[in-house]
Symmetry: C2
Subunit: 444 residues, 2 copies
């Protein structure tokens, strides 16, 4: 999935070994997902570091000590998450101090910050919170603007230990605002993005590589290229490990690639498909509506996750019956009777209905059989058959998609396909290439 | 978060050490979440085993060999995921065979199964797929009904190695249908659920413990109790490690707890809040509609994830403007002007509008400021202020909620609060306790 080469093999920190220790029985029992790995892994990757290992262990003191001892012996940077809270099963601080041969000292400044925080919320601090006011004798404190337990920072034996609180809304800003700059200052990662990223949609990894190979060949080994495939998107990461290319030069190469890719180029950086659509809609001062059956609200969710969604998103309708389609979207009953609700005609009527009811310029509709119950795939269409429709100021079309796989996969692929279709249509509208080449119709 | 004691400390396999090795740069780069940990951790927990460690490492052969050697030295059961595919970076099979001192042998039966699979999809098998037809000389094959690479099973040195393919839709049925029975047969986990689980909603962990303590005290040490807190839900797991209690007796204790908890008891087992609501709606032959602003489609999504949603879910509306509320839900403009769109009155009007438009008996509405952009929290209501409303055949009410935290947290807490409110109202309707005690009104 990921080609080697993106991670600056010749960078001064390339040989440095990063490990992430995530603590908590709730992870091992499958009660919560390990979002810290996803977040920290991605953040380090953007600064040119490939996290070498993530170890998740129980809250048990012996297990923590054993693992930390092993990791400290081989890693250069160890990041831990969790176990810093006020309760008795939060033992990480004590265990690690013992392994490092350090004392924990009470820090009056931490106590004061906690008192202020409790006061701001009109609550009284209970004594067990004082546990969180201890830091390593030879270590520093990473203030926590969003919670009580501060992060802890230790440099010892030529290595770095960085302990972060478990709640994501405390950990994430602390990591970006405090940990990354400290690591960059020590030369342990880049002080800027390690690569220029082109994000593409609707094109596979190998097709992408083939299309861009002429550009890569021209630049020889000054350029390093890595591909990262997500669902429905492939990222192409350009870097220059030898630093032969400046950032500006890398950006020029990226622009050349983008040009070559045309509509398959989605954006630079890390924006989502919905965000890219949102930017296009805003730039063109257009509004969007959606109507869904099979995706059950996920398409609306994708757009409402974009900040300031109200400025471009008129709203959405989730229909689970023909009655709802007729009532909310003015889909004619005779159309549903004649063609069935899962049909190109049904999808088109939903899209047009959504645009008209919600006074939107564009509308996406998704209808079909997302799977699971066998009875769902009725009327000759097997489970995994999805019709999407796009209503635009200059026409309306529908497409048939067939996805094998379990329901969540079918749903997210259908959402991606709908988003990417809208994106391409908005691009064409922007370039004025629309009216002459597109007509209303059904494309299967 | 999890009290000790749930994991049958006296079971014959209690001292057995389970490790999960998840392979793949895409996990370490944060491109995909580690869903295998969540799934396998939960499945093992249900059979009385606490996974001791999960290690995620790169696809690099040396790293795999080093980690596997270390894990094999201390663990009793090692489960690996990924790295079994046909491409050149799928090296796990070869590396582990070398560490174990085993030969890989070509298995004609695997080749045949792959050929049949390709033929069924009308495709020709490419030669690189043949790599997947090798198994351990002294090992077995776990057939894969959903993909090409079979799982591999090795018993050696008194330990078990189980290698599973990476795609979740291949791994999950293989784990449940083949791996769990094999491990149970070897006495390495229980051949049944390890505990009786009561799921609760709307009550905190410590309040729950206090309420149930009298029951626990009465049964003494024959009973072991563990609590697992999720978002908005706390599970109480009852087991009898000494086997003094039969399953039937544990179920009787659980029923006693459920009785004591009243409405705070949600279900036995692992159902979601939406599933419990769905069952209640179906039993009462009622239909539900939803209307959302702040949760942007997540509430509709929760219901449409339930199998057969069309039987109880009429549909949903996601509104991003007052126009949409007026147009789709018949919310009167004067009401929005007088009270503002984020108000108890606005929420009530949305719920009633959804019920009427979609001919539903019950309707949930969520409106408010989920966060992020500061401008959102207008009209004296800070970000995190949510109004939910419930429309029922016997009345309509609204509630104000205040959630601090980032947008995704606010959204999911609002969804949980709305679901739990509906659940309680449906319970009251079922028991006939409704008409005499509830009136239409605004509860703040």
């Amino acid at each position: 999935m990921v080609s080697p080469g993106s991670h600056s093999p010749s960078a001064p920190f390339a040989a440095k070994r990063y490990e992430l220790l995530t603590l908590g029985d709730e992870l091992l029992l499958g009660l919560t997902g390990n979002g810290h790995l996803t977040f920290i892994g991605a953040q380090l990757g953007r600064r040119g570091v490939l996290l070498q290992r993530n170890v998740t262990i129980t809250d048990e003191a012996d297990a923590i000590a054993r693992q930390f001892r092993e990791s400290w012996a081989t890693a250069d940077v160890i990041i831990t998450t969790g176990g810093l809270g006020p309760t008795c099963d939060d033992r990480t601080r004590e265990v690690l101090a013992e392994v490092l041969g350090q004392k924990l000292v009470f820090d009056r400044a931490i106590e004061k910050a906690m008192e202020d925080r409790f006061a701001a919320f009109g609550r009284k601090m209970t004594p067990n919170n004082l546990k969180q006011a201890y830091r390593f004798e030879r270590g520093e404190v990473l203030p926590n603007a969003h919670g009580t337990a501060p992060g802890l920072w230790v440099e010892q034996d030529g290595k770095v230990l960085c302990m972060l609180p478990g709640p994501p809304n405390e950990l994430q800003p602390m990591f970006v605002e405090q940990v990354l700059p400290r690591l960059a200052k020590l030369g342990l990662l880049l002080d800027r993005e390690a690569y220029v990223q082109l994000r593409t949609a609707g094109i596979g990894e190998s097709a992408l590589e083939t299309r861009l190979q002429p550009v890569f060949d021209r630049h020889g080994d000054a350029l390093s290229v890595a591909f990262c495939a997500h669902q429905g998107q492939v990222d192409c990461r350009l870097s220059s490990p030898s630093e032969k290319f400046s950032s500006a030069q890398l950006e020029a190469v990226a622009a050349e690639c983008a040009q070559l890719l045309g509509e398959d180029f989605m954006c630079y950086g890390h924006d989502s498909l919905a965000k890219v659509c949102a930017d296009l809609l805003r730039a063109q001062e257009k509004k969007l509506a959606v109507a869904e059956t099979a995706t059950g609200g996920l398409l609306a969710h994708a757009f409402t996750e974009v900040c300031g969604a109200c400025k471009f998103f008129a709203g959405g309708v989730v229909c689970c019956s023909n009655d709802a389609k007729m009532q909310l979207l003015d889909v004619p009953e005779c159309l549903l009777l004649q063609h069935g609700s899962v049909s190109p005609e049904g999808a088109v009527a939903m899209a047009t209905g959504a645009a008209e009811t919600l006074s939107a310029d564009y509308a996406l509709a998704v209808t079909g059989f997302a799977g699971a119950s066998a009875a769902e795939g009725a009327g000759g269409n097997p489970v995994g058959t999805i019709f999407i429709a796009l209503h635009a100021p200059h026409g309306v079309w529908s497409k048939k998609l067939s996805y094998p796989g379990p329901r969540p996969t079918v749903k997210s692929r259908a959402v991606n396909a709908a988003l990417d279709w809208l994106r391409r249509e908005l691009l064409r509208a922007q370039s004025g290439a629309v009216a002459s080449v597109r007509r209303t119709g059904v494309m299967q």
